[in-house]
């Protein structure tokens, strides 16, 4: 096992690690990726493929998403492989009058921030969604929202990064991060040898807390489990993403008017049609550690919720289910940041369900931080030390 050197070692071969490596290699840096399993072997292959602004809080959050959407349209041209990109927009639907009022406020906020949002009434919904339940009040639309195949997106970034010189070390675990006498990054010890580097990006997603501990910091990221169901090939139910408005409540941990089980498992409708004539149905949100077995009670609950919005699904076969762990942070924003106390150590993690949405902007910004350039968007709200400030 020979020793290597690199300008940057990226820990994690998921969508965030791959986007970061891609943008770094575009700037001419020598990058090594260390991944304990396979490329897109974790969260990035156990999710759906949203590039959404519709579910982001108006302001910085939704602006960041919009920027990411723009970058993805560039990636469609830049990357070596295709990843089923489409931009049909997406919608949120409301179950009652109360949600309509809240949706209206949401739309007004987003519009003020310059995003292409609009309200949809009952007729708008009915004319687009033939199979939607009759009692749906209306909803809202974000016209720029796009969708990709998340695994193919990650692979496309990986293949292109590799062509640009990035070395991908899969099935390789990080055992230690070496710091010099001043506490700055000096190298990364792995199961296949030592890599000398002055810069390390912790893009380990749900495992980034563990990686942080190697340099003595506590990264406040916890695994939040989510289940998704896949239908068989079937007649078209709809051509773009639809979520229930109270998904936002679930995402941000606010109270909803749903039954006990739906609340307990954080179940909210997410419908995503794919190019394979099927659709994905989510979602759930639970804190159950790193356990990734399918919980039948949860997928049952998701199926019930799906039928509530699309009664026609009752007779459509389910092909399979899967679940993944999403890297959750306490304030629902990712950490894309330097770690001041450990010079050379960076974090790009904690995107929860927005990793695919925000990968492009995250990778871009991370490459700018590492090369000391002005960042495409301000990164203050994404700083690691925001948690230290609020605590105590």
């Amino acid at each position: 096992m020979g020793n290597e050197t690199a300008d940057v070692v990226v820990i994690g071969g998921g969508i965030i690690g791959m986007a970061t490596s891609y943008y770094l290699s575009k700037l001419g840096l020598d990058v090594v990726v260390v991944e304990k399993g396979e490329i897109a072997g974790g969260t990035s292959s156990k999710c759906d493929g949203n590039i959404l602004a519709i579910d982001k809080e108006p302001g910085f959050d939704s602006q960041m998403s919009l920027k990411s959407q723009e970058l993805v349209t560039e990636l469609v041209k830049e990357l070596d492989e295709e990843f089923e990109y489409r931009a049909p927009g997406s919608i949120l639907v409301c179950e009652n009058e109360e949600e309509m009022v809240a949706a209206n406020a949401w739309v007004e906020h987003q519009k003020q921030a310059g995003l292409p949002f609009r309200m949809l009434d009952r007729n708008d919904i009915k004319s687009e969604w033939k199979y939607m339940a009759d009692d749906i009040y209306g909803g809202l639309e974000c016209a720029t929202d796009s969708t990709v195949n998340p695994v193919l997106f990650t692979y496309a970034l990986a293949v292109t990064a590799k062509r640009l010189g990035v070395r991908l070390k899969t099935h390789t675990t990080v055992t230690k991060i070496r710091l010099d006498a001043n506490g700055a990054v000096e190298g990364v010890e792995t199961s296949s040898g030592l890599i000398y580097t002055k810069q390390v990006v912790n893009a380990a997603g749900v495992w980034s807390k563990h990686i942080g501990q190697m340099v003595g910091i506590e990264v406040p990221i916890e695994p939040r489990k989510g289940h998704i169901l896949v239908s068989s090939r079937t007649k078209s139910i709809g051509t773009r993403k639809v979520m229930e408005f109270s998904y936002l409540m679930s995402k941000f941990g606010k109270e909803r008017k749903v039954d006990e089980e739906t609340e307990k498992y954080g179940v909210a409708l997410v419908f995503e049609p794919t190019a394979s004539q099927n659709f994905l149905i989510g979602s759930s949100r639970e804190f159950v550690g790193f356990q990734t077995q399918i919980n039948v009670d949860v997928i049952r609950c998701i199926a019930r919720r799906a039928i509530r919005f699309f009664p026609v699904m009752k007779d459509i076969p389910i092909l399979r289910s899967y679940c993944g762990l999403r890297p959750w942070t306490p304030d629902h924003l990712p950490i894309v940041s330097r770690v001041e106390e450990v010079p050379g150590f960076y974090i790009a993690a904690g995107h929860e369900g927005d990793g695919i949405s925000l990968a492009a902007i995250t990778g871009k910004v991370m490459s700018e931080l590492i090369t000391d350039q002005k960042t495409t968007i301000t990164t203050d709200p994404l700083r690691y030390d925001r948690f230290q400030k609020t605590e105590v």
């Binding site: 399993g37 490329i39 695994v151 099935h171 199926a303 019930r304 389910i318």
Partner: protein, 88 residues
């Protein structure tokens, strides 16, 4: 062997598709699956899972060793959303 032979009947994935995926870096059964949709169709892999593993093993005996196997998850039989939900 003809490259047009279908391997995964459900998703109509051919040998050529496997080859292409392999040559762009998919070197395990799981990556092949993700890239080509082989084993992801209606039979839930009961027909072609063996074939994909066999092909991968013949193609790259080293890569198939010690690598995460394709997983099994419920439902292992196609049931409808209604049946799963417990509705009659």
């Amino acid at each position: 062997m003809s490259n047009s032979i279908i391997v995964c009947r459900c998703e109509e994935v051919t040998v050529e598709n496997l080859e292409d995926a392999y040559h762009t870096g998919a070197i395990t059964s799981r990556q092949i699956k993700m890239k080509t949709r082989a084993t992801m169709g209606a039979c839930q892999g009961r027909v072609c899972r063996n074939l994909v593993d066999l092909w991968m093993g013949n193609k790259n005996p080293l890569a198939s060793k010690g690598v995460e196997q394709l997983s099994y998850r419920p439902p292992v039989r196609p049931i409808t959303f209604g049946e799963l939900a417990g509705e009659e």
